[in-house]
Symmetry: C2
Subunit: 389 residues, 2 copies
């Protein structure tokens, strides 16, 4: 991780979350961390030697935090896409074709594909990204994917072991669950910080998920869970029971689930691109979760089958326009909300001491990131004080 | 309009609509027009002197035709956007705030804003664009907007007089309709080829629209109509009665309307970004229109209040994912469909003699333009044989 000094001047509107929105602002990063924030005219005089970036009156936000991505895969799911336009329903079984293509790809091929996606994420404003395995589904292939994920540069990457994505074809369920559990120490040694389970109809049951995640907690993993996407199975309640850092998807969440998540401080991760891509027609869960007082995050769920999208702003736009969430709620969900889903308090905001991760918009108001569709409104992404990654 | 010679080689998949999709193809443009299409290995030998573009195995499509845009405006409709997230319904009355900002802007300011939007359209694949007036609503301001529209470069632009966008504040309805009719000759002299009326609840009645469009036809304008967006008013039936080139929006179209449009050869222009942006929840009309046998086009409706989006691929993605239209239907709607809505037979396809307007994708399959969200999958746009406009 490069850390730099930088003065960002002439910020039209600065959203730091640590202060009210500041106009005509400046921000100083020293050693990769925010050292000063205030009015441009009040900038301390002893900064002459620091590199300077002129924001030209543009709006600045904390760097975006994408807390749910499956960015390491090979192959295409074009057929799933066209099939759903003919009325086919989403099924987790489509994952198997990506597993076959991913197993067939070399480390270098996978790394090149994933790095291209991560670089696209950076260009659309993401400064911290979670990246899951899950398209290997053998011990060696899962560890290869974790190695690829750990090698990615640009945004700060945290990696998640998702051996429990689906039961691989030709494998006995119970044997495979045992293998996932047995692989936890090796996954941890590869740097994986999180363990995730796709707990849903067509994937893993609540009991299987409990077994895997309980073992993962013993091995020091933080816990995440794919919950209530395809059907209501009780995965959200399990997330609350186990104190997962996040429960993700939640299209079929109930009011009781939502209250349980809020009480257990489990972040509710919305992935609206997946709802669009699978043509689920489900958007109401965002309001259910908000009304229960859950902390929300929004993420891309970047993956080949149900959300081929690296752009967190695109997901944020759907969170507004399809889920009906207000602008500030969505901006918080994509910054501090994502950070909380990753149990980070040093990113997602620009208070003193935070990492110097921020985005400069090609717009003078932060709302335009959400209101201007179909274009990239991010003009510069700064990670640890270093412009453009 | 620049016209050039160009050989495009190593096309992975060429969709010309004149032939089945060709793989490993090449295409020759002479004097701005398609002169040869075929297998790369069969390229005629006498082309050594022509400039060459190596598509590197990428997919190539005809240049996109965006047949409905309001690209000339000043000011922001940020407040309408945030208001709708709080549950406010769309109303044409929001247009008045854009009218005020647009009247206050100089020709040069408007031209710079509109040119930036048109350049963004070009970068996202649009090689032919229709541009409407409609935010002036005085004789002088409407003519100023038509002058701006006619001055735009990049895609080939055709301009539309939309004096009948809404009745301006402080004006008598009947007087204003008379003024619109009286302005037709001056609008024609400014190069406007089309006359359009926003015929809907809160805008103009069917009788007012009939009066304006009938007069426009006498003055040699082609006719277009904003129909059945806010409510069902009979505007689609009027489009069929008058033989309009297109009827646009159509969210509230009936089965009878759809059959009337098909019988009268009126192109049905889908603008799904507006449906998303106004949070109408209406998507089913696309199927109604398809089932009636209408020719479909898809357009951005680029405007500040209800579709702030220059990207036709973004609109096409919604046509697939929200409207449930198949990939080929949407690709045709954005190329030959848009061309037919503008009564052009020389764009939207790549048959021999067509204009050399095409897009090279950053993908090896045309489906990826629709399946890969949140990024710009257009790598090169070629207008009249000239790469990147």
């Amino acid at each position: 991780m490069r850390v730099s000094d930088l003065v960002v001047r002439r910020i039209g509107r600065l959203t730091s979350w640590a202060l009210p929105v500041l106009t005509d602002a400046a921000l100083v990063i020293r050693g990769g961390r925010v050292a000063w924030v205030g009015a441009d005219r009040d900038l301390p005089p002893d900064l002459a030697e620091l590199p300077e970036l002129d924001a030209g009156g543009a709006a600045v936000l904390p760097g975006l935090v994408d807390c749910h991505t499956h960015a390491v895969w090979a192959g295409s799911r074009r057929d799933d896409f066209t099939g759903r336009l003919s009325g086919a329903a989403y099924s987790p079984a489509g994952i198997h074709s990506t597993v076959a293509a991913t197993r067939a790809a070399s480390y270098d091929e996978l790394r090149a594909l994933a790095q291209q996606r991560i670089t696209t994420m950076l260009g659309t404003g993401t400064t911290t990204a979670e990246v899951k395995s899950g398209y290997g589904l053998t011990v060696d292939d899962e560890l290869k994917l974790l190695d690829v994920a750990a090698s990615l540069t640009g945004p700060t990457v945290t990696t998640t072991y998702l051996g429990a994505h689906v039961v691989p074809q030709g494998r006995d369920r119970a044997d495979y669950v045992d293998e996932v559990v047995a692989t936890l120490p090796a996954a941890k040694a590869r740097g994986a910080q999180w363990c995730d389970v796709f707990c849903d109809e067509g994937a893993f049951t609540v009991d299987e998920a409990r077994l895997i995640l309980t073992a993962a907690a013993r091995h020091g993993f933080g816990l995440r869970i794919h919950a209530e996407q395809v059907a209501h199975t009780g995965a959200a309640a399990l997330a609350a029971e186990l104190g997962c850092a996040s429960a993700d998807h939640l299209d079929h969440v109930t009011v009781d689930d939502a209250h349980a998540l809020a009480a257990a401080d489990v972040v509710a991760v919305l992935v609206p691109v997946a709802s669009l891509y699978t043509r689920s027609g489900r958007w109401g869960h965002a309001r259910t979760l908000t009304e229960a007082g859950c902390t929300l995050a929004v993420a891309t769920d970047c993956n080949p089958g149900t959300s081929w999208c690296e752009s967190l702003p695109f997901a944020m736009q759907l969170a507004c326009l399809e889920m009906g969430l207000p602008v500030e709620t969505v901006l918080r969900a994509a910054t501090v909300g994502g950070a909380k889903a990753l149990r980070r308090d040093d990113v997602g905001h620009l208070g003193i001491g935070a990492r110097g991760d921020l985005v400069v918009l090609d717009a003078d108001h932060e709302t335009d990131l959400l209101a201007h569709l179909g274009v990239n409104t991010i003009s510069r992404t700064i990670v640890g004080g270093t412009p453009n990654g």
